[in-house]
């Protein structure tokens, strides 16, 4: 069939329009009030090989949001939340770490703060026993004699004893006058 001018498309019957479209390989659906205009435009487009008359509407480019970015955005926030939650934890941990060490240094012996009660309980009997020992032994000093002093004293005594023993004269000379031989009368 001969190409139809755009003006003549309207004069075509539905059947004719349908037949012309099928010639172009279009699977034509029902031509009714809802579809006719579109089929006419499509036929002209196929015949002229060009885009049809510009639409009567202004382009709505700011339409529909790039929603692909929404999918991407879902990932960082959880990470950000994870990072933000981890930082306060670190901050809380730092002051907590400083607290036990000074208390540990001051007590010197009990390292744990929780064991204060037990160490204090055990400390009192030791405190009671420590003053009683020097009183019984009547030693100089308020607290007890340090261990190294005792050890030195023992060593000194041993050294002296050894020196005395080695320097003892084997031939002892007694000052007791001996009785001469008895004279007979």
């Amino acid at each position: 069939m001969a190409p139809v001018d755009p003006k003549d498309v309207n004069s075509l019957s539905d059947e004719q329009l349908s037949d012309m479209l099928r010639d172009y390989g279009v699977d034509v659906g029902p031509i009714n009030v809802a579809t006719r205009r579109t089929y006419e435009r499509y036929l002209i487009k196929l015949q002229t090989g060009q885009a049809l008359t510009p639409s009567n509407f202004e382009p709505a480019d700011d339409e529909d949001e790039d929603e692909d970015t929404e999918v991407i955005l879902k990932h960082p926030p959880p990470q950000e939340r994870f990072l933000s939650s981890s930082q306060p934890r670190q901050r809380h941990q730092v002051p907590n770490s400083h607290i036990p060490t000074p208390t540990g240094d001051s007590l010197s012996r009990p390292p744990l703060t929780s064991s204060k009660k037990t160490t204090s309980a055990s400390f009192t009997p030791f405190a009671r026993s420590s003053p009683s020992v020097p009183l019984q032994q009547q030693q100089n000093g308020n607290g007890g004699i340090p261990g190294w002093v005792k050890l030195t004293a023992v060593v000194v005594v041993l050294v002296l004893a050894y020196l005395i023993y080695t320097n003892m004269e084997p031939n002892a000379v007694s000052n007791i006058p001996s009785i001469p031989n008895k004279v007979q009368v």
Binding site: V26, T38, Y39, Y42, A60, D61, E63, D64
Partner: protein
């Protein structure tokens, strides 16, 4: 798999029921208003149009451009959305 928008996925994963035409991918506020003024207020009316064109994509896109002035991207997004819905539920 090509990138699909959240709107697209929300539409094609369930029956459209009484969803408005603005719930179609590619159809935003402006295009939705124009379609509504042409009495295509519900998504199933657009579906009906698609089916009348015997699911021919080029015809449907042409209709969409003529009816609400959709650009090429919007035509494509809407057409793919309807087409995928049909593949699952029709």
């Amino acid at each position: 798999m090509s990138s699909t928008s959240k709107k697209h996925r929300n539409f094609v994963t369930e029956p459209m029921g009484e969803k408005l035409v603005t719930e179609l991918a590619g159809i935003g506020e402006v295009l939705g208003k124009r379609l509504t003024e042409a009495n295509y207020d519900k998504a199933y009316t657009v579906l009906g149009q698609f089916l009348l064109f015997k699911k021919e994509e080029e015809l449907f896109k042409e209709w969409l451009k003529d009816t609400c002035g959709a650009n090429a991207k919007q035509q494509n997004d809407c057409c793919q959305c309807i087409k995928e819905w049909c593949d699952s539920f029709l």
